[in-house]
C-alpha cells in the first residue's frame, strides 16, 4: 500500500475468510493495520465515526447478513465523506448481475475468491501492488 499508516477495512463475516486475508497480507508483508467488520451496517457506522481514521482501501464481501455488500455500496457511494475510498469487492459470486451492480456503484475492482489459497495470495499480491503504485487523494 502506498499509504502505510492508514488501516485496511475488511468487511467480511466468514471467520476463515478473515483469517485467509490476514494471513495472505502478512505473507506479502503488508504492514497496514487491519480493521475487520462483519457487515455493511457496521462498516458504515465505523466510517462515519469521526474518531476513526479513514481506511486507505475497503475490501468488501457481497454476501453478508444484515446489510450486504451491494446495499453498503448504495449508501457509501452516495456519501461524500466515504465515496472516494477505493472499494475492491472480494466475493464468491460470479453472477453477472453482482458484477454489473458493483461496477454501476463505482467499485475499483472485483475479485472472485479462489478456492486455492496459493491463488488467493496472488490475488492479494496484485491488489497490494496496484494500490502501491496508484495515486490516491488525501
Amino acid at each position: 500500500m502506498k499509504i502505510t499508516n492508514k488501516p485496511i477495512l475488511l468487511v467480511e463475516d466468514d471467520q476463515v475468510d478473515v483469517m485467509t486475508v490476514k494471513r495472505a497480507l502478512k505473507e506479502i508483508h503488508v504492514t497496514n493495520p487491519m480493521v475487520n467488520l462483519e457487515n455493511g451496517a457496521e462498516a458504515l457506522k465505523y466510517l462515519r465515526d469521526p474518531k476513526n481514521v479513514k481506511p486507505c482501501i475497503i475490501l468488501l464481501d457481497l454476501n453478508m447478513p444484515i446489510m450486504n455488500g451491494i446495499e453498503f455500496l448504495q449508501v457509501a457511494k452516495h456519501d461524500a465523506q466515504i465515496k472516494r475510498i477505493p472499494v475492491v469487492v472480494l466475493t464468491t459470486s460470479e453472477e453477472q448481475q453482482d458484477k454489473v451492480n458493483s461496477f454501476d456503484l463505482g467499485v475499483a475492482g472485483y475479485m472472485a475468491k479462489p478456492v486455492d489459497y496459493r491463488q488467493f495470495v496472488e490475488v492479494m499480491r496484485t491488489i497490494d501492488a496496484y494500490w502501491t503504485i496508484s495515486e490516491m487523494p488525501q
Binding site: D14, V16, D17, M19, T20, R23, N63, T92, S93, E94, E95, Q96, K113, P114, V115, D116, Y117, R118, F120
Partner: protein, 460 residues
Amino acid sequence: MKWSIEHKVLTGFAVALAILAVIGWLAYQSTVSFMHASTQATHSQKTITALEEIFSLANQAETRQRIYLISGDERHLAPRRAYIDRIHILLGKIRDTTAGNPGQQALLRRLDGHIDARLALLEGVLKVRREQGFEPARLKLMAGNGEREMEAIHETVLQLEKGETARMQQWVDASRENSDQMLIIFFVALVSVAIFFGVLFLFIVRELAERRQAEEQRALLMHELESANEELKNFGYVVSHDLKAPLRAIGSLADWISTDYADKFDDEGKEHMRLLISRVYRMDGLIDGILQYSRVGRVKETIVAVDLNRLVREVIDLLAPPKNMTVSIVNPLPTVMTEPTRIQQVFQNLLSNAIKYMDKPEGKIRIACVAEGTQWKFSISDNGPGIDQQHFEKIFQLFQTLAPRDRVESTGVGLALVKKIVEMYGGRVWLESTVGKGSKFFFTLPRTAAIPSQPKEHKT
C-alpha cells in the same frame, strides 16, 4: 379421433344450415305447386264464367231475333252480330284454357257444332222473314228443331261446367293437401332445428366450462412451474455462495495445516493432505459445472453476428493444444446470429475433450461445416480413443464420465452443457465413433437466427 371444439361447432352449424336449406327447398317446391294449382283453378273459374256468358249470349241473340221476327225492325238485328263474334272469342278462350284436357275439348267441339247449327238455323229463318214476310218465317221456325238445338247447347254447357267444377275442386283439394303436408314438414323441421341448436348450445356451454377448468388447471401448473423455476434459480445461487464458502475454508485450512505443520506429518499424512486438497478442487469444479449448466438459458446474452472462423481460432488458442496435435478448420465456417458465449462453450467443450482424451502420438482434430437444408451441420472429428456405441447416450448426461476422475480430471458437465445449448437453439447433437480409431461429434444450428427457444423468465 378427437375433434376440436371449432370442428364440432362448425359441423353443428353446417348440419343446421343443411336442414334449413332442405326446408327452403321444400317451401319453394310447395309454393310453385300451389301457384300452379291456383292458376289451374283460376282457368277453370274463367272457363265456367265464359261458358255462362256464351249461354247467355246465345239466349240474347235468339231473343233479339225473335223480336225482329215479330216486329221486322232491322235495328234489333244489329247487336246480334256482336253477340256471335263475342261467342266465338269466348269459345277460343275456353279452347286455350282447357288445352291438355281431351274430354273438355271434345265437349267444346260439340258445343261449337251445336251453336253453329243453331245459328245457321236462325239465319235461315231470318232470310225467309226478310224475303217472304212474317208468316212463312214463323212456319219455318216452328218446323225447325231450334228448341232441340238450344237444349243440346244447354246440356253441353252444363256438362262442360260440371267438368270444370270437378277439375277446380281437384286442384283445390291437391293444393290443400300440399299445404297440410308442408305445415307438418315445417313443424317437424323447425322443432328438429330447435332441438339441434339446443343440444349444440348445451354442448358448447359444457365444452367452454371444461376449457375454463383446464385453463385454471394450466394456470395453477404454470404457477407451480414458475415457483419451481424460481427455487432452482435460488438453488444455483445458494450453491455458488453458501456451498463454496465452507469449501474454500476447508481448502485454505488444509493448505495452512500442510504448510505450517509440514515437519509434523509423515509421508502418509502428507499424501492424505494432498488428496484432501485435490478433492476440494474437484468439488469446486463440480459446483462450477452446476452453475455453468444452470446459467445456460437462464442468463440471456445479446444475439449478435458471430464469425465462427474467428471464434473457433480464439478457442483453439485458448486451449493451447500440445505440439503433437494439429487442430485444423477444413472449410470456411459461417457467420451465425447467436449468443457468443454459448457458441464458444460448445466449441470449447468439444475441442477440449478431443485434446484431453487424445491417445495417439500424432493427434489430428478437424473442424468442418456443411449446409444441410435449413441448418448448418458442424463436425469435430479426432483420431483419439473412440467411444463404445453403448455410451453414446450416457456421455451427454450431467456428471457422466467414462474415465475415472483420478485418471482424467473431468466434471462430466461439458457434453451435457453442449447438448443443452445446442438444443436450446433448436439444433441436435450426436456422434459417430469407432473404438481405437477416433470419434466424430456432430451438431446442427438453424441457418436463420439461432434464437434460444426458452420461455420468458421472470426478473426478480
